[in-house]
Amino acid sequence: MAAGIYYPCNRVNTWPADDALARPDRGRYPGGPAWVVGSCQESCDEQAGLDECPGLAELNGRDRSGVGKPGDAPPNPEGAPVGRRLILGLLGLGALGTLTGQRVQNALAPVVGAVADHDPTGLLSLIPLGDTFRYYSVTGSVRQETADNYRLNVSGLVDHPATYSIADLKSLPQTSLIQDFQCVTGWHVPAVHWAGVRLSVLLEKAAPAKQARAVLFTSFDGTYTESLTLAEARHPDVIVALEMLGAPVTHDHGGPVRMYAGSMYGYKSTKWLSGIELAETETPGYWETRGYAIDGTIRE
């Protein structure tokens, strides 16, 4: 608040901000006073010394009186550039959020998440708390496979091709782990419970041929493909998942059987898994032909 002395004048500044359009020196209220000096000693708002002070409003019977310094154009007839400041402020907030958002979200999610769990209206679930799965499907709809009709084929450069039912998979040694699901675009779900058969177990039983260097995955959505190098596929955190989040993998999450490649971005974890094929080289998968790196290892 700059204390200042303002002078009503007939050079009404065609509020608001008619700048280029209105030629402030021409605007004129009917019967407006000629330059009157020092009639208003109130301090008016802001450095720009804008358009009014209370005394003037009375003078003109309306509150858009023009003011100016004597012998000079009105200081700033347009008002303060608040719009620009708001935009720059939002940009700053966005940049800050980008740099610190992960930490903020980690701090926020447990608190708000606990409230959301007991929210009878369900409205809180619309708030972007993070830490939730987003459902990716690259086709129109994916047929439902039940525990009865589901089959997983292991084929390609192997000595022992095989077809597994869910019961077959369950009869193999089970493993479970708690590990994050990280999407390449940035969202992630911490500490997800996964359970199933290590891919290395299936590979062992299939006995890959010497020239096999890669594992290709197909999905019964009919479109999605992925691949891992044979070395990556043998990592202990790469599993053929039968359970996720403490329950059988739901259809929307890629059930009844999906891949989970820990320590890799989510696009490496094929949903609705239907086939595992050994090959000599990796083949760029669905998202990899659309720009993502074929090496999906999460770094840094």
Binding site: P128, G130, T139, G140, T185, G186
Partner: protein
């Protein structure tokens, strides 16, 4: 639509096209401004609809086609600021941007007032709420564009930035969605404001009630340009 309600311009410049003070309607938005508003509204709507699919699992599952939806969302998002940038070439649009960006003490009082619409505080071409909305929407669009670029071109930034960008994108999208809903609600409540954006003109009585300061300036300009003619 860096916009508020109506964003746009009028022909306040003293030209022969300014109607006589007696005519029933006054020009509010130029053709360029209305085109900018229309294209921005379409792009914004597509962005919001595709965002709903991408974000909300119960919609995403039945719709599927993730890559296609994503492409539509991303390219409409890239295109969103384009009409406004092209608008820089329009005199009327620039003039209204200037109006929208400047806040006077009267604007502050308008925002604080509980009886802001009773006419005591004279409002210019845009009221303070419209100005606020314009700035917040423009800033949000830019933030969403920047974070969207980081999320879409995954090689640009380290993972922690991408996570932060997702966080920011989600919250700004929610906020912008609310601003747009508010904008639409205000527009639905005011047929004459909608007419202004649809046809470019509003009734003189509406202008007097809602934007008296602006009407006054228009009339002044018209009077003067008429008065000037003989001198030339």
């Amino acid at each position: 639509m860096p916009s508020t309600e109506p964003s746009g311009n009028n022909e306040a410049r003293p030209t022969p096209s300014v109607p006589e003070p007696t005519s029933a309607s006054v020009p509010r938005f130029s053709r360029a401004e209305r085109m900018i508003h229309r294209t921005t509204a379409i792009l914004m709507t597509v962005c919001i609809l595709t965002a709903a699919v991408l974000y909300n699992g119960s919609i995403a599952v039945p719709v599927g086609h993730r890559h296609l939806i994503e492409l539509i969302h991303v390219y409409c998002g890239f295109a969103l600021p384009v009409p406004m940038l092209l608008g820089i070439g329009s005199f009327a649009y620039r003039a209204d941007l200037r109006r929208l960006g400047r806040f006077t003490p009267a604007d502050r009082r308008w925002l604080r007032s509980r009886t802001r619409r009773d006419g005591t505080i004279t409002v210019g071409k845009f009221n303070a709420g419209q100005k606020l909305n314009a700035s917040l929407v423009s800033g949000s669009i830019l933030v969403l564009l920047g974070t969207g670029v980081l999320m879409y071109f995954v090689l640009l930034a380290p993972l922690s930035w991408r996570s932060g960008a997702t966080f920011v994108h989600d919250w700004f999208a929610l906020a912008l969605g609310l601003l747009v809903v508010g904008h639409v609600i205000f527009a639905l409540k005011d047929p004459e404001a909608r007419r202004g954006m649809r046809t470019g003109s509003v009734s003189r009585s509406w202008a007097r009630t809602e934007h008296e300061g602006w009407l006054h300036d228009l009339e002044n300009a018209a009077t003067e340009s008429a008065a000037e003619v003989p001198e030339k």
